[in-house]
Protein backbone atom coordinates (compact mmCIF):
# COMPACT_ATOMS: atom_id res chain seq x y z
CA UNK A 1 0.00 0.00 0.00
CA UNK A 2 1.34 3.39 -0.99
CA UNK A 3 1.94 5.98 1.70
CA UNK A 4 2.38 9.57 0.51
CA UNK A 5 2.97 12.58 2.71
CA UNK A 6 0.64 15.45 1.87
CA UNK A 7 2.92 18.49 1.45
CA UNK A 8 0.17 20.87 2.62
CA UNK A 9 -1.10 19.29 5.82
CA UNK A 10 1.90 17.08 6.54
CA UNK A 11 -0.24 13.98 7.01
CA UNK A 12 1.33 10.69 5.99
CA UNK A 13 -1.67 9.48 4.08
CA UNK A 14 -2.17 5.93 2.88
CA UNK A 15 -3.65 5.21 -0.48
CA UNK A 16 -7.31 4.96 0.51
CA UNK A 17 -7.17 8.58 1.61
CA UNK A 18 -5.89 9.74 -1.78
CA UNK A 19 -7.02 9.76 -5.40
CA UNK A 20 -4.51 9.34 -8.19
CA UNK A 21 -4.58 11.93 -10.98
CA UNK A 22 -2.14 10.74 -13.62
CA UNK A 23 1.05 12.24 -15.02
CA UNK A 24 2.18 15.60 -13.63
CA UNK A 25 3.73 18.62 -15.36
CA UNK A 26 1.74 18.20 -18.57
CA UNK A 27 2.05 21.10 -20.96
CA UNK A 28 -1.45 22.08 -21.95
CA UNK A 29 -2.43 22.78 -25.55
CA UNK A 30 -5.73 24.19 -26.71
CA UNK A 31 -7.11 26.22 -29.60
CA UNK A 32 -4.40 27.24 -32.09
CA UNK A 33 -2.12 24.30 -31.40
CA UNK A 34 -1.27 21.65 -33.99
CA UNK A 35 -3.03 18.28 -34.10
CA UNK A 36 0.17 16.57 -32.90
CA UNK A 37 0.51 18.87 -29.90
CA UNK A 38 -3.11 18.44 -28.95
CA UNK A 39 -2.96 14.66 -29.32
CA UNK A 40 0.21 14.52 -27.23
CA UNK A 41 -1.39 16.64 -24.52
CA UNK A 42 -4.55 14.53 -24.49
CA UNK A 43 -3.20 11.00 -24.88
CA UNK A 44 0.58 10.56 -25.13
CA UNK A 45 1.87 9.87 -21.65
CA UNK A 46 5.47 9.12 -20.76
CA UNK A 47 4.43 5.90 -18.97
CA UNK A 48 7.99 5.18 -17.79
CA UNK A 49 9.07 1.98 -16.11
CA UNK A 50 10.94 3.78 -13.38
CA UNK A 51 10.80 7.37 -12.12
CA UNK A 52 7.35 8.89 -12.61
CA UNK A 53 6.05 12.30 -11.59
CA UNK A 54 2.36 12.24 -10.92
CA UNK A 55 -0.62 14.08 -9.48
CA UNK A 56 -2.45 13.01 -6.37
CA UNK A 57 -5.33 14.57 -4.45
CA UNK A 58 -5.59 14.34 -0.70
CA UNK A 59 -9.26 13.49 -1.23
CA UNK A 60 -10.21 12.46 2.31
CA UNK A 61 -7.93 15.04 3.94
CA UNK A 62 -7.32 18.64 2.99
CA UNK A 63 -8.72 18.01 -0.51
CA UNK A 64 -5.80 19.64 -2.30
CA UNK A 65 -3.84 18.44 -5.32
CA UNK A 66 -0.15 17.73 -4.81
CA UNK A 67 2.60 16.05 -6.83
CA UNK A 68 4.69 12.98 -6.10
CA UNK A 69 7.78 11.29 -7.49
CA UNK A 70 7.47 7.52 -7.47
CA UNK A 71 9.13 4.52 -9.09
CA UNK A 72 6.61 2.53 -11.14
CA UNK A 73 8.90 -0.52 -11.17
CA UNK A 74 9.28 -0.82 -7.38
CA UNK A 75 6.53 1.47 -5.97
CA UNK A 76 9.22 3.36 -4.01
CA UNK A 77 8.12 6.90 -3.23
CA UNK A 78 10.91 9.47 -3.58
CA UNK A 79 8.99 12.44 -2.25
CA UNK A 80 6.01 14.75 -2.60
CA UNK A 81 5.76 18.47 -3.28
CA UNK A 82 3.14 21.19 -3.75
CA UNK A 83 1.49 21.41 -7.17
CA UNK A 84 2.23 25.09 -7.89
CA UNK A 85 5.47 24.38 -9.80
CA UNK A 86 6.30 23.57 -13.41
CA UNK A 87 9.19 21.20 -12.56
CA UNK A 88 10.07 19.01 -9.58
CA UNK A 89 12.20 20.76 -6.90
CA UNK A 90 15.95 20.44 -7.53
CA UNK A 91 16.57 18.81 -4.14
CA UNK A 92 14.11 16.04 -5.02
CA UNK A 93 15.66 15.57 -8.46
CA UNK A 94 19.10 15.23 -6.80
CA UNK A 95 17.72 12.70 -4.35
CA UNK A 96 16.26 10.62 -7.18
CA UNK A 97 19.50 10.86 -9.17
CA UNK A 98 21.44 9.56 -6.14
CA UNK A 99 19.09 6.59 -5.82
CA UNK A 100 18.70 5.91 -9.57
CA UNK A 101 22.04 6.82 -11.22
CA UNK A 102 20.82 5.72 -14.66
CA UNK A 103 17.75 7.98 -14.52
CA UNK A 104 17.82 10.34 -17.51
CA UNK A 105 16.54 13.27 -15.48
CA UNK A 106 13.33 15.29 -15.61
CA UNK A 107 12.28 16.06 -19.20
Amino acid sequence: MLILECPYCGVKAEETELSPGGEAHLKRFGPGSTDEEFEAYMFARKNPKGVHFERWRHAYGCGKWFLAARCTATLEVFGTYPAQVSAPPQALQDKIKAKRPDWKGFQ
Partner: protein
Amino acid sequence: MTAQARPSKRYSVFALAKEALSWHMGWEKAWASPEPKKSYDAVIVGAGGHGLATAYYLGKNHGITNVAVIEKGWLGGGNTGRNTTIIRSNYLQDPSAAIYEKARSLYETLSQDLNYNVMFSPRGLLMLGQTHHEVRGYLRTVHANKIQGVETEWISPQKVKELVPIINIDGPRYPILGALYQARGGTARHDAVAWGYARACSAMGMDIIQQCEVKGVTSAGGVVTGIETTKGYIQTKKLGIVVAGHSGQVADMAGFRLPVEAVALQALVSEPIKPCMDVVVMANTVHGYMSQSDKGEMVIGGGTDGFNNFTQRGSFHHIEETLRALIETFPMISRLKMLRQWGGIVDMTGDRSPIISKTPLGNCFMNCGWGTGGFKAIPGSGWAMAELMAKGEPGPLAEEFSMWRFKEGRFIDESVAAGVAH
Protein backbone atom coordinates in the same frame (compact mmCIF):
# COMPACT_ATOMS: atom_id res chain seq x y z
CA MET B 1 22.06 -25.27 -31.93
CA THR B 2 19.87 -27.80 -30.23
CA ALA B 3 17.55 -29.37 -32.74
CA GLN B 4 14.46 -30.44 -30.87
CA ALA B 5 11.68 -32.56 -32.18
CA ARG B 6 8.53 -30.70 -33.08
CA PRO B 7 5.13 -32.02 -31.99
CA SER B 8 3.74 -34.36 -34.64
CA LYS B 9 1.27 -36.63 -32.87
CA ARG B 10 -2.44 -35.93 -32.85
CA TYR B 11 -4.22 -35.95 -29.51
CA SER B 12 -7.21 -38.29 -29.60
CA VAL B 13 -8.83 -41.06 -27.62
CA PHE B 14 -6.96 -43.55 -29.82
CA ALA B 15 -3.64 -41.86 -29.11
CA LEU B 16 -4.46 -42.03 -25.40
CA ALA B 17 -5.18 -45.76 -25.64
CA LYS B 18 -2.03 -46.35 -27.67
CA GLU B 19 0.18 -44.42 -25.26
CA ALA B 20 -1.38 -46.25 -22.31
CA LEU B 21 0.16 -49.45 -23.66
CA SER B 22 3.64 -47.95 -23.24
CA TRP B 23 2.96 -46.43 -19.79
CA HIS B 24 2.48 -42.96 -21.30
CA MET B 25 6.21 -42.63 -21.84
CA GLY B 26 5.86 -41.79 -25.53
CA TRP B 27 4.22 -38.36 -25.34
CA GLU B 28 6.20 -35.59 -27.02
CA LYS B 29 6.87 -32.13 -25.69
CA ALA B 30 4.01 -29.89 -26.71
CA TRP B 31 6.38 -27.46 -28.41
CA ALA B 32 10.07 -27.33 -29.29
CA SER B 33 12.38 -24.77 -27.66
CA PRO B 34 15.03 -24.10 -30.31
CA GLU B 35 17.76 -21.50 -30.38
CA PRO B 36 16.93 -18.56 -32.66
CA LYS B 37 17.89 -18.73 -36.34
CA LYS B 38 19.73 -15.80 -37.95
CA SER B 39 16.71 -14.52 -39.80
CA TYR B 40 12.97 -14.93 -40.18
CA ASP B 41 10.22 -13.70 -42.47
CA ALA B 42 8.36 -12.44 -39.41
CA VAL B 43 9.22 -12.05 -35.74
CA ILE B 44 6.57 -11.57 -33.09
CA VAL B 45 7.62 -10.15 -29.74
CA GLY B 46 5.55 -11.61 -26.91
CA ALA B 47 4.46 -15.24 -26.55
CA GLY B 48 1.22 -14.58 -24.78
CA GLY B 49 -2.14 -15.51 -26.22
CA HIS B 50 -2.26 -12.59 -28.67
CA GLY B 51 1.30 -13.11 -29.94
CA LEU B 52 0.91 -16.87 -30.37
CA ALA B 53 -2.50 -16.46 -32.03
CA THR B 54 -0.94 -13.95 -34.44
CA ALA B 55 1.77 -16.46 -35.33
CA TYR B 56 -0.76 -19.27 -35.69
CA TYR B 57 -3.01 -17.36 -38.12
CA LEU B 58 0.03 -16.08 -40.04
CA GLY B 59 0.75 -19.72 -40.77
CA LYS B 60 -2.77 -21.01 -41.10
CA ASN B 61 -4.42 -18.18 -43.04
CA HIS B 62 -1.46 -16.68 -44.90
CA GLY B 63 1.04 -19.52 -45.29
CA ILE B 64 3.87 -17.67 -43.55
CA THR B 65 5.64 -20.19 -41.31
CA ASN B 66 9.23 -18.93 -41.15
CA VAL B 67 8.25 -17.15 -37.94
CA ALA B 68 9.77 -16.71 -34.50
CA VAL B 69 7.87 -15.77 -31.36
CA ILE B 70 10.19 -14.16 -28.82
CA GLU B 71 9.29 -14.18 -25.13
CA LYS B 72 11.07 -12.41 -22.27
CA GLY B 73 9.71 -14.69 -19.56
CA TRP B 74 7.86 -17.89 -20.16
CA LEU B 75 5.06 -18.67 -22.56
CA GLY B 76 1.68 -17.42 -21.36
CA GLY B 77 3.21 -16.13 -18.11
CA GLY B 78 1.92 -12.59 -18.43
CA ASN B 79 -1.68 -11.49 -18.63
CA THR B 80 -2.70 -14.65 -20.52
CA GLY B 81 -2.22 -16.58 -17.27
CA ARG B 82 -3.45 -13.78 -15.03
CA ASN B 83 -7.00 -13.04 -16.11
CA THR B 84 -10.44 -14.27 -15.09
CA THR B 85 -10.93 -16.16 -18.41
CA ILE B 86 -14.21 -14.48 -19.32
CA ILE B 87 -15.30 -14.59 -22.97
CA ARG B 88 -18.06 -12.33 -24.28
CA SER B 89 -18.77 -10.04 -27.22
CA ASN B 90 -21.67 -7.87 -26.03
CA TYR B 91 -19.97 -4.59 -26.93
CA LEU B 92 -21.71 -1.40 -27.93
CA GLN B 93 -19.43 -0.01 -30.63
CA ASP B 94 -19.46 -1.74 -34.03
CA PRO B 95 -15.68 -2.27 -34.43
CA SER B 96 -15.45 -3.79 -30.93
CA ALA B 97 -18.47 -6.04 -31.43
CA ALA B 98 -17.00 -7.24 -34.74
CA ILE B 99 -13.60 -8.26 -33.39
CA TYR B 100 -14.82 -9.66 -30.06
CA GLU B 101 -17.59 -11.62 -31.81
CA LYS B 102 -15.03 -12.98 -34.28
CA ALA B 103 -12.93 -14.06 -31.32
CA ARG B 104 -15.88 -15.62 -29.50
CA SER B 105 -16.93 -17.55 -32.58
CA LEU B 106 -13.35 -18.80 -33.11
CA TYR B 107 -13.29 -19.93 -29.46
CA GLU B 108 -16.27 -22.19 -30.17
CA THR B 109 -14.21 -24.46 -32.41
CA LEU B 110 -10.74 -23.64 -31.11
CA SER B 111 -10.23 -26.99 -29.37
CA GLN B 112 -10.95 -28.86 -32.61
CA ASP B 113 -8.96 -26.37 -34.67
CA LEU B 114 -5.85 -26.62 -32.47
CA ASN B 115 -6.36 -30.27 -31.52
CA TYR B 116 -5.90 -29.08 -27.93
CA ASN B 117 -8.63 -28.88 -25.32
CA VAL B 118 -8.99 -25.22 -24.36
CA MET B 119 -12.03 -26.12 -22.24
CA PHE B 120 -14.23 -23.45 -23.78
CA SER B 121 -17.39 -23.40 -21.74
CA PRO B 122 -20.18 -21.26 -23.24
CA ARG B 123 -22.04 -21.23 -19.94
CA GLY B 124 -23.74 -17.88 -20.42
CA LEU B 125 -22.82 -14.46 -19.12
CA LEU B 126 -24.89 -11.86 -17.27
CA MET B 127 -24.11 -8.20 -16.89
CA LEU B 128 -26.33 -6.96 -14.10
CA GLY B 129 -28.31 -3.76 -14.43
CA GLN B 130 -28.31 -2.19 -10.97
CA THR B 131 -29.19 1.44 -11.68
CA HIS B 132 -31.71 2.91 -14.11
CA HIS B 133 -28.84 4.51 -15.98
CA GLU B 134 -27.17 1.14 -16.39
CA VAL B 135 -30.46 -0.48 -17.51
CA ARG B 136 -30.85 2.12 -20.26
CA GLY B 137 -27.24 1.61 -21.30
CA TYR B 138 -27.65 -2.15 -21.58
CA LEU B 139 -30.96 -1.90 -23.43
CA ARG B 140 -29.09 0.22 -25.95
CA THR B 141 -26.36 -2.43 -26.13
CA VAL B 142 -28.97 -5.16 -26.74
CA HIS B 143 -30.35 -3.17 -29.70
CA ALA B 144 -26.85 -2.46 -31.01
CA ASN B 145 -25.95 -6.14 -30.69
CA LYS B 146 -29.06 -7.10 -32.67
CA ILE B 147 -27.86 -4.94 -35.56
CA GLN B 148 -24.29 -6.24 -35.22
CA GLY B 149 -25.43 -9.87 -35.28
CA VAL B 150 -24.33 -10.55 -31.70
CA GLU B 151 -26.89 -12.64 -29.88
CA THR B 152 -27.80 -10.97 -26.57
CA GLU B 153 -31.01 -10.28 -24.71
CA TRP B 154 -32.33 -8.28 -21.79
CA ILE B 155 -33.73 -10.48 -19.02
CA SER B 156 -35.86 -9.77 -15.95
CA PRO B 157 -34.70 -9.97 -12.32
CA GLN B 158 -36.75 -13.16 -11.92
CA LYS B 159 -34.93 -14.77 -14.82
CA VAL B 160 -31.62 -13.63 -13.28
CA LYS B 161 -32.59 -15.37 -10.02
CA GLU B 162 -33.50 -18.48 -12.00
CA LEU B 163 -30.11 -18.57 -13.69
CA VAL B 164 -28.17 -17.61 -10.55
CA PRO B 165 -29.93 -18.99 -7.47
CA ILE B 166 -27.25 -17.65 -5.11
CA ILE B 167 -27.80 -14.03 -6.15
CA ASN B 168 -29.54 -11.46 -3.97
CA ILE B 169 -31.83 -9.53 -6.33
CA ASP B 170 -33.26 -7.08 -3.79
CA GLY B 171 -30.09 -5.81 -2.18
CA PRO B 172 -30.35 -2.67 -0.06
CA ARG B 173 -28.17 -0.40 -2.16
CA TYR B 174 -28.33 -1.74 -5.69
CA PRO B 175 -31.22 -4.15 -6.34
CA ILE B 176 -30.99 -6.17 -9.56
CA LEU B 177 -33.20 -4.54 -12.19
CA GLY B 178 -32.42 -7.05 -14.91
CA ALA B 179 -29.42 -8.18 -16.87
CA LEU B 180 -27.79 -8.12 -20.26
CA TYR B 181 -27.55 -11.82 -21.05
CA GLN B 182 -25.24 -13.38 -23.59
CA ALA B 183 -26.03 -17.09 -23.59
CA ARG B 184 -23.02 -17.88 -25.79
CA GLY B 185 -20.53 -16.09 -23.55
CA GLY B 186 -18.55 -18.05 -21.01
CA THR B 187 -15.04 -19.02 -20.02
CA ALA B 188 -12.08 -21.07 -21.28
CA ARG B 189 -8.91 -22.45 -19.74
CA HIS B 190 -6.50 -19.52 -20.17
CA ASP B 191 -3.21 -21.47 -20.04
CA ALA B 192 -4.53 -24.03 -22.49
CA VAL B 193 -5.24 -21.30 -25.03
CA ALA B 194 -1.57 -20.26 -24.97
CA TRP B 195 -0.33 -23.84 -24.88
CA GLY B 196 -2.62 -24.96 -27.69
CA TYR B 197 -1.56 -22.11 -29.98
CA ALA B 198 2.10 -22.71 -29.08
CA ARG B 199 1.86 -26.40 -29.93
CA ALA B 200 0.14 -25.69 -33.25
CA CYS B 201 2.74 -23.00 -34.12
CA SER B 202 5.61 -25.31 -33.25
CA ALA B 203 4.09 -28.08 -35.37
CA MET B 204 3.99 -25.67 -38.34
CA GLY B 205 7.74 -25.15 -37.97
CA MET B 206 7.69 -21.83 -36.11
CA ASP B 207 10.26 -21.15 -33.39
CA ILE B 208 9.03 -20.21 -29.92
CA ILE B 209 11.98 -18.73 -28.07
CA GLN B 210 11.44 -18.22 -24.35
CA GLN B 211 13.63 -16.31 -21.90
CA CYS B 212 14.83 -14.08 -24.69
CA GLU B 213 14.38 -10.38 -24.04
CA VAL B 214 14.27 -7.76 -26.78
CA LYS B 215 16.90 -5.09 -26.18
CA GLY B 216 16.60 -3.01 -29.33
CA VAL B 217 14.97 -2.66 -32.73
CA THR B 218 17.13 -1.94 -35.77
CA SER B 219 15.96 -0.27 -38.96
CA ALA B 220 17.29 1.04 -42.26
CA GLY B 221 15.60 3.75 -44.30
CA GLY B 222 12.58 3.79 -42.01
CA VAL B 223 11.96 0.04 -42.36
CA VAL B 224 12.58 -2.51 -39.65
CA THR B 225 15.54 -4.86 -40.22
CA GLY B 226 15.81 -6.86 -37.03
CA ILE B 227 15.92 -6.98 -33.26
CA GLU B 228 18.68 -7.14 -30.69
CA THR B 229 17.91 -9.74 -28.04
CA THR B 230 19.60 -11.38 -25.08
CA LYS B 231 20.14 -14.37 -27.40
CA GLY B 232 21.78 -12.31 -30.11
CA TYR B 233 20.72 -10.36 -33.19
CA ILE B 234 17.78 -11.68 -35.19
CA GLN B 235 17.05 -10.39 -38.69
CA THR B 236 13.46 -10.07 -39.78
CA LYS B 237 11.45 -8.69 -42.67
CA LYS B 238 8.44 -7.98 -40.48
CA LEU B 239 8.07 -7.29 -36.79
CA GLY B 240 4.93 -7.62 -34.68
CA ILE B 241 4.99 -6.15 -31.17
CA VAL B 242 2.41 -7.87 -28.96
CA VAL B 243 3.63 -7.30 -25.41
CA ALA B 244 0.69 -5.81 -23.47
CA GLY B 245 2.05 -4.11 -20.33
CA HIS B 246 5.46 -3.29 -21.79
CA SER B 247 4.18 -2.02 -25.16
CA GLY B 248 5.40 1.49 -24.44
CA GLN B 249 8.90 0.24 -23.64
CA VAL B 250 9.24 -1.83 -26.83
CA ALA B 251 7.69 0.98 -28.90
CA ASP B 252 10.38 3.25 -27.44
CA MET B 253 13.04 0.93 -28.87
CA ALA B 254 11.30 1.12 -32.25
CA GLY B 255 11.35 4.91 -31.98
CA PHE B 256 7.74 5.93 -31.49
CA ARG B 257 5.42 6.72 -28.64
CA LEU B 258 2.12 5.04 -27.87
CA PRO B 259 -0.98 6.47 -26.22
CA VAL B 260 -0.93 3.79 -23.51
CA GLU B 261 -0.38 3.71 -19.78
CA ALA B 262 0.42 0.63 -17.71
CA VAL B 263 -1.64 -0.09 -14.60
CA ALA B 264 -2.17 -3.12 -12.39
CA LEU B 265 -5.32 -5.21 -12.56
CA GLN B 266 -5.91 -7.83 -9.89
CA ALA B 267 -7.91 -10.99 -9.61
CA LEU B 268 -8.35 -13.61 -6.93
CA VAL B 269 -9.83 -17.04 -6.29
CA SER B 270 -11.53 -18.51 -3.26
CA GLU B 271 -11.11 -21.92 -1.73
CA PRO B 272 -12.89 -24.55 -3.84
CA ILE B 273 -16.54 -25.16 -2.98
CA LYS B 274 -19.33 -27.33 -4.38
CA PRO B 275 -20.81 -26.16 -7.70
CA CYS B 276 -23.11 -23.22 -6.94
CA MET B 277 -23.05 -20.95 -10.00
CA ASP B 278 -22.88 -22.12 -13.62
CA VAL B 279 -22.86 -18.74 -15.35
CA VAL B 280 -20.53 -15.74 -15.34
CA VAL B 281 -21.91 -12.70 -13.50
CA MET B 282 -20.58 -9.18 -13.93
CA ALA B 283 -21.78 -6.40 -11.66
CA ASN B 284 -20.37 -3.23 -13.11
CA THR B 285 -22.06 -0.65 -10.92
CA VAL B 286 -20.58 -2.08 -7.74
CA HIS B 287 -17.61 -3.30 -9.75
CA GLY B 288 -16.94 -6.97 -9.36
CA TYR B 289 -17.35 -10.07 -11.44
CA MET B 290 -17.40 -13.72 -10.55
CA SER B 291 -17.57 -17.18 -12.05
CA GLN B 292 -16.88 -20.65 -10.72
CA SER B 293 -13.96 -22.63 -12.07
CA ASP B 294 -14.16 -26.33 -12.83
CA LYS B 295 -12.15 -26.92 -9.67
CA GLY B 296 -14.86 -25.17 -7.64
CA GLU B 297 -12.99 -21.96 -6.86
CA MET B 298 -14.90 -18.71 -7.20
CA VAL B 299 -12.86 -16.64 -9.69
CA ILE B 300 -13.20 -12.96 -8.87
CA GLY B 301 -12.10 -9.80 -10.59
CA GLY B 302 -12.61 -6.09 -10.15
CA GLY B 303 -11.28 -2.79 -11.42
CA THR B 304 -7.78 -1.55 -12.08
CA ASP B 305 -5.66 0.49 -9.74
CA GLY B 306 -5.58 4.16 -10.55
CA PHE B 307 -1.85 4.74 -10.85
CA ASN B 308 0.95 3.70 -13.23
CA ASN B 309 2.49 0.46 -12.09
CA PHE B 310 4.75 -2.24 -13.54
CA THR B 311 5.07 -4.46 -10.46
CA GLN B 312 2.33 -7.05 -11.14
CA ARG B 313 0.93 -6.42 -7.69
CA GLY B 314 -1.89 -4.09 -6.84
CA SER B 315 -3.43 -2.28 -3.91
CA PHE B 316 -5.15 -4.27 -1.22
CA HIS B 317 -8.04 -1.86 -0.87
CA HIS B 318 -9.18 -2.67 -4.42
CA ILE B 319 -9.60 -6.31 -3.44
CA GLU B 320 -11.54 -5.16 -0.41
CA GLU B 321 -13.83 -3.00 -2.56
CA THR B 322 -14.42 -5.80 -5.05
CA LEU B 323 -15.29 -8.30 -2.33
CA ARG B 324 -17.53 -5.83 -0.52
CA ALA B 325 -19.48 -5.40 -3.75
CA LEU B 326 -19.74 -9.12 -4.38
CA ILE B 327 -20.80 -9.98 -0.83
CA GLU B 328 -23.68 -7.56 -1.23
CA THR B 329 -24.65 -9.29 -4.49
CA PHE B 330 -23.95 -12.86 -3.29
CA PRO B 331 -24.42 -12.88 0.50
CA MET B 332 -23.53 -16.58 0.78
CA ILE B 333 -19.90 -15.99 -0.17
CA SER B 334 -19.29 -13.78 2.88
CA ARG B 335 -17.40 -16.46 4.81
CA LEU B 336 -15.44 -17.87 1.88
CA LYS B 337 -11.69 -17.83 2.35
CA MET B 338 -9.70 -16.34 -0.46
CA LEU B 339 -6.96 -18.64 -1.65
CA ARG B 340 -4.79 -16.72 -4.07
CA GLN B 341 -4.53 -13.22 -5.44
CA TRP B 342 -2.44 -11.96 -8.33
CA GLY B 343 -1.96 -8.93 -10.53
CA GLY B 344 -1.17 -8.29 -14.15
CA ILE B 345 0.06 -5.17 -15.91
CA VAL B 346 -2.47 -3.98 -18.46
CA ASP B 347 -1.89 -1.33 -21.10
CA MET B 348 -4.73 1.16 -21.17
CA THR B 349 -5.46 3.47 -24.09
CA GLY B 350 -7.37 6.72 -23.91
CA ASP B 351 -10.60 5.22 -25.26
CA ARG B 352 -10.08 1.80 -23.61
CA SER B 353 -10.04 0.10 -27.01
CA PRO B 354 -7.07 -1.78 -28.45
CA ILE B 355 -4.55 -0.75 -31.08
CA ILE B 356 -3.91 -3.08 -34.04
CA SER B 357 -1.98 -0.86 -36.32
CA LYS B 358 0.83 -0.02 -38.67
CA THR B 359 3.41 2.20 -36.96
CA PRO B 360 5.69 5.07 -37.99
CA LEU B 361 8.36 2.39 -38.59
CA GLY B 362 7.91 0.45 -41.83
CA ASN B 363 7.00 -3.26 -41.56
CA CYS B 364 6.67 -2.89 -37.80
CA PHE B 365 3.20 -3.58 -36.48
CA MET B 366 1.65 -3.03 -33.09
CA ASN B 367 -1.01 -4.98 -31.25
CA CYS B 368 -1.62 -3.57 -27.78
CA GLY B 369 -3.99 -1.61 -25.59
CA TRP B 370 -6.29 -4.53 -24.76
CA GLY B 371 -6.37 -3.15 -21.26
CA THR B 372 -8.56 -5.19 -18.97
CA GLY B 373 -10.30 -7.22 -21.68
CA GLY B 374 -7.69 -9.04 -23.68
CA PHE B 375 -8.25 -12.73 -23.00
CA LYS B 376 -11.66 -12.91 -24.67
CA ALA B 377 -10.21 -11.33 -27.81
CA ILE B 378 -7.21 -13.61 -28.34
CA PRO B 379 -8.34 -15.52 -31.47
CA GLY B 380 -9.88 -12.45 -33.14
CA SER B 381 -6.91 -10.28 -32.29
CA GLY B 382 -4.50 -12.86 -33.69
CA TRP B 383 -6.64 -13.20 -36.81
CA ALA B 384 -6.68 -9.43 -37.43
CA MET B 385 -3.00 -8.93 -36.56
CA ALA B 386 -1.92 -11.80 -38.83
CA GLU B 387 -3.84 -10.24 -41.73
CA LEU B 388 -2.21 -6.87 -41.02
CA MET B 389 1.29 -8.38 -40.88
CA ALA B 390 0.84 -10.59 -43.94
CA LYS B 391 -0.68 -7.93 -46.21
CA GLY B 392 0.94 -4.86 -44.70
CA GLU B 393 -2.49 -3.21 -44.57
CA PRO B 394 -5.25 -3.72 -42.01
CA GLY B 395 -8.23 -5.86 -42.95
CA PRO B 396 -11.83 -5.08 -42.00
CA LEU B 397 -11.40 -6.25 -38.39
CA ALA B 398 -8.35 -4.10 -37.66
CA GLU B 399 -8.82 -0.96 -39.72
CA GLU B 400 -10.73 1.01 -37.07
CA PHE B 401 -8.11 0.21 -34.42
CA SER B 402 -5.32 2.32 -35.92
CA MET B 403 -3.02 4.12 -33.47
CA TRP B 404 -3.70 7.39 -35.35
CA ARG B 405 -7.35 7.44 -34.32
CA PHE B 406 -6.40 9.52 -31.27
CA LYS B 407 -5.03 12.28 -33.46
CA GLU B 408 -7.97 12.04 -35.85
CA GLY B 409 -10.56 11.96 -33.09
CA ARG B 410 -12.12 8.67 -34.23
CA PHE B 411 -12.37 7.00 -30.86
CA ILE B 412 -13.92 3.61 -30.29
CA ASP B 413 -15.21 4.77 -27.00
CA GLU B 414 -15.75 1.66 -24.93
CA SER B 415 -14.79 3.49 -21.75
CA VAL B 416 -18.09 5.30 -22.02
CA ALA B 417 -19.95 2.34 -23.53
CA ALA B 418 -18.85 -0.16 -20.92
CA GLY B 419 -18.91 2.33 -18.08
CA VAL B 420 -16.08 0.42 -16.45
CA ALA B 421 -13.04 -1.62 -17.20
CA HIS B 422 -14.09 -4.34 -19.61
